[in-house]
Symmetry: C2
Subunit: 512 residues, 2 copies
């Protein structure tokens, strides 16, 4: 039983309504049911419309906000309809929404749309610059964000055959810029010293005030900092580790690396730029994970084999393909620890006009009939990214004063966690070489956290508290960041004793 | 020191604003000052505008609503400006407003305007019918009400040379219909069985939501019932008797009679129609209390003398003149206990085409050069009114199970209390014949109650509680109402032992 969202049926006896004002009947009936909630002026007017229409028989949906209850919806009659709510992951590229029956916990519909903000730039920075110093443009970005959400609301509601007004709560997880855009706030602050969000804890906002087509209130997950946003807070809460004694590490690597370590006694988080390497932003043939993208590679007995998304001919390589490629090349002796390719190791390694490269798909395997290759320069770009990711984890462990062995669980969030091969990631040193059963893929944990909040697995106050309690490290500001980065530019790592299972594999290779 | 409205100066240190989001700085600084207040979405946007403009130095005005604090205003800088608030008596004829410095208690300006609702009818009923079943007309009435208030706000603020936005609270006392009009609520319910207001307890409403040009929140005094409105609750609270052990009676007689008896242990209130007699609605020459109205009369040694408002020649007679006329005629033997005139008693008593009458202003004393007179038929109309007033007090005493001697204080509210001669009122039996020092004129107690609330002499919750606790009698529904009315149609009263001082005077007269 969830206890933050309640339907209360109020039927006013004839004697009650003949002896008291409508609004008094309402408050008295609510109080008899054990609740106390104030109506604001707009709700008061709505109440007066409804109460007579409904012949003094109505159902009120109450939403708990800390110690107070808010009226999230009012319906005529004794509504046996379930309590519906919407969980949202507001990503800068795509937006995902889940329609939930919060009592049964059932997911009634789920849908993902393109974020219409992309009309203003694929990267967030373009959108921020577009709106800087221009309140009208901020409103414009807010409107397209709300439009995207409304499109999703209508779609999930249509799929479940309910009206949008039947949804009386929304929990939304998004990074700091996304939440600022949604609220119509100036985002320039996010990219300007001292790099501070204008808002962290948002609380519950009236959906109507934002122009959302559902009823009730929206809760936006708070951020800890500029780069450690509500999406991460939501993800962290979805794992439940902030309530446990075990020590956990939550890692989300994308264009930025965002991570949190801790347990119920302490929480340290950090974020930093990880580079575009992991989102197919490198290599001439790098691409997003779409049909035709090489997404996994194995090298066995000197033979490279790959799969593509959709089983089509290769059109390029996506992040998981790159990670596999480098890991397999390292283990096969095609690439050394510094990221240089060994032409003698395979006929696939050749010189091209843009340097030495490995052909991961040859003429017969590629859609264009041209060989698809990955150059040493591409590898160097990727090296920076993997070094950054490794260094962030290391800095976080240092800040916590813990060896990696002390970490009981490593939660891998986001697309990276979901699609990359864990073994390959460890082989090239993105993740620490910890026992494999400690790694847990949590997928879209941001959407899951929003879902969990709606299903009452934690409260909005707990989320606010976690965001507040995380001690924040700005990785780039850490003194030894650059030195550690240097050490991490080696595959899997300069100090092989930190990568015992990889060292073992490499040793086997050398003895073969 | 008032404790429900507070200015809190917040200045964010450079280190605070460099390490936390603006809104967090705000909440933290407030918490350090000992407060916790949420901003709604509109306030949040306003906050973001202001905080940078104000260079992180601002003053917040907080208003306590029960256990919670609301943000009533935000200003740049360390505002040493006083806390301003507005007390309002929203009458159906005129609207009075006082601008207060709530810390010093000073009245900075006071102003009365005509209620613009009168365009829709001088009597409330016309206005109610105008708006019945028509939401657009309800909005229209709401708009003119708000316009009237805004006109007053601008005028009192101009007089004190402050901006309307510097006022951060308003306390408004009005009868039930007035508050319904202000809130844009359907008022037909007030004149239709079961004669119930749609709203009693209103609470604090955002001034901006109502379209008021001041800042902060407006509190409307709650009503106990349809005819026992917020104006009476405000008046009752202004006297302070609901906190005392002594028993008090609060009486407001106008077109309706409204009264409350009790002390801190019990409260009984009632209301009923008193008739138009007391507002100059009778007699050909009856008029409102304006220049030229006969407002006091004395008969000594067979001679009638009067005064007029402004000292001008007589144009007609107003309520206080009528009360004096009847009292003096009774004591002079010009009129008997049944309200008949004695032609032998004075040359001023003559037959006119509309019956026997007393000439209160002769040809030489009247502006028109025609005699002004008051007929026996006029007296009969007045008799009904005075009988109704007397009966209401009697019913209230009966309901409380108390003799009139048990009442320690009799508060006389409204224009009637302010302008009528107390001795005359007792002589003709409107009020009980109690020791004169128990009568206290409280004038515009409705405006005073609003003032007292703003000055912290009682809280809005206390006002809500008093309105809730008053046990309500609908006088016209009382079984013995008509019988008691009959008995009260005699001057001063059938049972003269209830009017010992008047009996004594009459006895003296007879022996002379």
């Amino acid at each position: 039983m969830i206890d933050w969202l309640k339907k209360v049926h109020l039927e006013f006896s004839e004697s009650a309504r003949d002896s008291a004002a409508d609004l008094d009947c309402f408050h008295r009936a609510l109080q008899e049911a054990g609740y106390d909630a104030q109506l604001d002026y707009a709700q008061m007017l709505r109440f007066y419309e409804l109460i007579r229409e409904a012949d003094y028989n109505l159902t009120v949906t109450l939403l708990r906000d800390g110690k107070n209850w808010r009226v999230a919806a009012m319906e005529a009659g004794d509504s046996a309809a379930p309590l519906y709510a919407l969980a949202v992951d507001l990503g800068s590229t795509t937006v995902s929404m889940r329609l939930l029956n919060v009592e049964s916990g059932a997911v009634l519909a789920e849908c993902t749309h393109r974020n219409a903000q992309r009309e203003y730039g694929d990267d967030i920075l373009s959108r921020i610059f577009y709106t800087t110093y221009d309140p009208a443009r901020r409103k414009e970005l807010q409107r397209v964000t709300v439009d995207t959400l409304n499109g999703l609301i209508r779609e999930v509601c249509a799929a479940a055959e309910i009206a949008p007004e039947q949804c009386c709560a929304m929990a939304l997880a998004g990074n700091t810029a996304m939440v600022h855009f949604l609220l119509g706030l100036d985002t320039f602050c996010l990219f300007h010293t001292p790099f501070l969000p204008r808002i962290r804890r948002v609380g519950w906002i009236d959906c109507a005030e934002l122009g959302l087509c559902c009823a009730g209130y929206i809760y936006c997950f708070p951020c800890t900092a500029n780069y450690l946003g509500g999406d991460i807070i939501s993800g962290v809460l979805s794992t439940g580790f902030t309530k446990k004694d075990e020590i956990s590490l939550f890692v989300d690597i994308g264009t930025n690396g965002e991570m949190v370590i801790g347990n119920r006694h302490f929480l340290i988080g950090g974020a930093g730029a990880a580079g575009p390497a992991l989102e197919a932003g490198i290599s001439k043939s790098g691409m997003r994970a779409r049909a035709g993208a090489v997404d996994s590679i194995r090298i066995e007995n000197g033979e490279l084999r790959f799969t593509t998304i959709g089983g089509e001919k290769a059109r390029g390589i996506c992040g998981s393909g790159i990670v596999d490629l480098l890991a397999e090349m390292l283990l096969a002796g095609w690439m050394d620890g510094k990221g240089y390719l060994n032409e003698k190791a395979s006929g696939r390694i050749r010189e091209f006009e843009d340097g030495r490269a490995v052909v991961y798909a040859d003429e017969s395997e590629s859609e264009s009939g041209e060989p698809l290759y990955f150059t040493e320069a591409d590898i160097r770009l990727f090296t920076d990214t993997k070094a950054a990711a490794h260094t962030m984890v290391e800095l976080l462990l240092q800040a916590a004063g813990l060896p990696v062995e002390a970490v009981d669980n490593i939660y891998l969030a986001g697309a990276f966690g979901r699609h990359m091969d864990l073994e390959s990631c460890i082989t090239i040193g993105i993740y620490p070489d910890a026992p494999r059963d400690r790694f847990i893929n949590v997928g879209n944990s941001s959407l899951q956290g929003a879902t969990d909040l709606l299903l009452g697995r934690f409260t909005s106050e707990e989320a606010d508290k976690v965001a507040e309690e995380i001690f924040y490290l700005e990785f780039a500001m850490e003194e030894n960041f650059m030195a550690l980065m240097q050490a991490a530019c080696f595959y899997p790592y300069t100090d092989l004793t930190q990568y015992p299972t990889v060292a073992e594999k490499l040793k086997k290779l050398q003895t073969n």
